[in-house]
């Protein structure tokens, strides 16, 4: 029997590499900061630039999908409710509805802030995937426990949805009727959720045993502890410096305004 199975020519495979430009997250942080700290006129300017950049990007559908579906209706209803029911001078009327200037200004401030934050975050996640972000954060001192929780919950959502659909089909075949009254339908949740919860609680407890066996530390690992990453992240140093300067400039502008 050979004393070692390793051939002298065998090499440890290299980790897959991903490039990451920290400028992306610094730009997002700066825009979110501007959404809360800057005046409305400056926020509008930032929004105009952001919309122009995102509309030119190849991922514009992904960036604006959530915004158009969830945030835009919210903004429009906000204009309606706040425009009509605020006090102040009447800016304009549409039939019997009188829109007040203070309400419209308030709704505009809310709309611009929401648009800035949602579009900036959407744009960031259209450019970077979850694995790269997770490894980057872990490499910079983020608690691996939290990263594990996030990645596991995202994976579990997909699996649990499929399982729920199968349980629903099976229960419908056994007579689950969604046309009954509300109280009966609330009761119908239990035959759906009990098998789902039971199987995933058991699986989670077994996964916990596996984590303990793999020496997944109960405490946050210290910076000196070497943790083997899954990916090697190549950080763009120029992007890191530019991003820090950008965020510092935004904070500096805000502080100057506060001092004045």
């Amino acid at each position: 029997m050979p004393s070692s199975f390793a051939s002298p020519d065998m090499q440890t495979p290299e980790l897959p590499r991903r490039a990451y430009n920290p400028l992306d997250h610094y730009v997002t942080l700066t825009i979110v900061f501007a959404a809360f700290a800057f005046r409305l006129e400056w926020q509008l300017a930032v929004l105009a630039v952001l919309v122009a950049v995102t509309l030119l990007s190849p991922n514009k559908r992904r960036v604006y999908r959530g915004f158009l579906k969830f945030v835009l209706p919210l903004i429009l209803i906000g204009f309606l409710i706040n425009g009509i029911f605020f006090t102040g001078k009447v800016a304009f009327s549409i039939g019997p509805l009188k829109f007040r200037d203070e309400g419209l200004l308030f709704a505009a401030a809310v709309a611009v802030r929401l648009a800035l934050i949602v579009i900036a975050i959407s744009y960031y996640f259209s450019r970077v995937n979850s694995e790269t972000i997770s490894e980057y954060l872990a490499g910079h001192g983020a608690d691996r426990r939290f990263i594990y929780i996030y990645l596991l919950s995202v994976a579990m959502v997909h699996l649990m949805r499929d399982k729920l659909q199968k349980i629903y089909t099976a229960q419908s075949a056994r007579g689950l009727d969604t046309t009954r009254n509300v109280f009966t339908r609330v009761r119908y949740l239990l035959p759906l959720l009990v098998p789902l919860s039971y199987s995933y609680i058991a699986e989670s407890l077994d996964r916990g045993i596996a984590l303990r066996a793999a020496n997944f530390s109960d405490k946050k690992p210290s910076r000196s502890t070497k943790v083997v990453p899954l990916l090697e992240i190549e950080v763009n140093k120029a992007g890191l410096l530019s991003g820090r300067i950008l965020l510092a400039a935004a904070v500096g502008v805000w502080m100057l305004r506060m001092v004045k």
């Binding site: 929780i149 596991l152 959502v157 989670s204 109960d218």
Partner: protein, 197 residues
């Protein structure tokens, strides 16, 4: 400080971390179940409440936070702003479980009503200042009504939350109670918060 650190380590460890992830995923998946059976409720905190009950308040808070983070990345980043509300839900649910609210259905329901009031209080400022009082949750017509009778944005957002949240949370607490009574004892015994059930 030392006690709070040790409580965190006690509730967030290798055993409970997968449970927290499960609770976060359950919050999202129950939304799908609610749509399948066409219920006029949100029931978006069942995972948070369950984990707060069977592990503890810190784990419950983390479950709620990660659920809203995941919801935000899947659907709409606006959910991220309501993370403080989920922290309140996780904390109160854990404390309610400690005093035995989940041992009987007639103690779970009033605890859920109180939870609903607290959730309305926590969500009102966020809904008012981040979203102008509008949350697209189906009860925005109530904000319209309260504004029409002269209430401020914060008051309208609070009253709108008060109209929906207590019922939603009371039903959520009852569902968690009945879920835990139907899960086999052999599984429940392995959970850190078994004594709360």
């Amino acid at each position: 400080m030392a006690e709070s650190v040790s409580r965190f380590e006690k509730e967030v460890n290798a055993t409970t971390i997968p449970l927290i992830a499960f609770g976060a995923a359950l919050n999202i998946v129950v939304g799908q179940a609610v749509q399948l059976i066409k219920l006029p409720l949100y029931l978006d905190s069942i995972g948070t409440i369950m984990i707060a009950c069977v592990v503890g308040p810190v784990a419950g808070m983390l479950t709620g936070a990660f659920a809203n983070l995941t919801l935000g990345f899947f659907f709409n980043y606006a959910f991220i702003f309501f993370i403080p509300v989920t922290l309140v839900i996780g904390a109160f649910s854990g404390l309610a479980a400690r005093v035995g609210a989940f041992k009987r259905w007639y103690t779970a329901m009033p605890a859920g009503l109180i939870q609903g009031v607290l959730a309305a209080v926590a969500s009102a400022p966020i809904a008012a200042f981040m979203f102008g009082g509008v949350t697209m949750g189906g009860t925005d017509f109530l904000v319209l009504y309260f504004r029409a009778i002269g209430k401020s944005i914060v008051q309208s957002a609070f009253l709108q939350g008060l109209a929906a949240d207590p019922v939603d949370k009371a039903v959520s607490y009852l569902i968690v109670y009945f879920l835990l009574t139907r899960i086999p004892r052999a599984i429940l015994l392995r959970l850190p918060g078994y004594a709360n059930t």
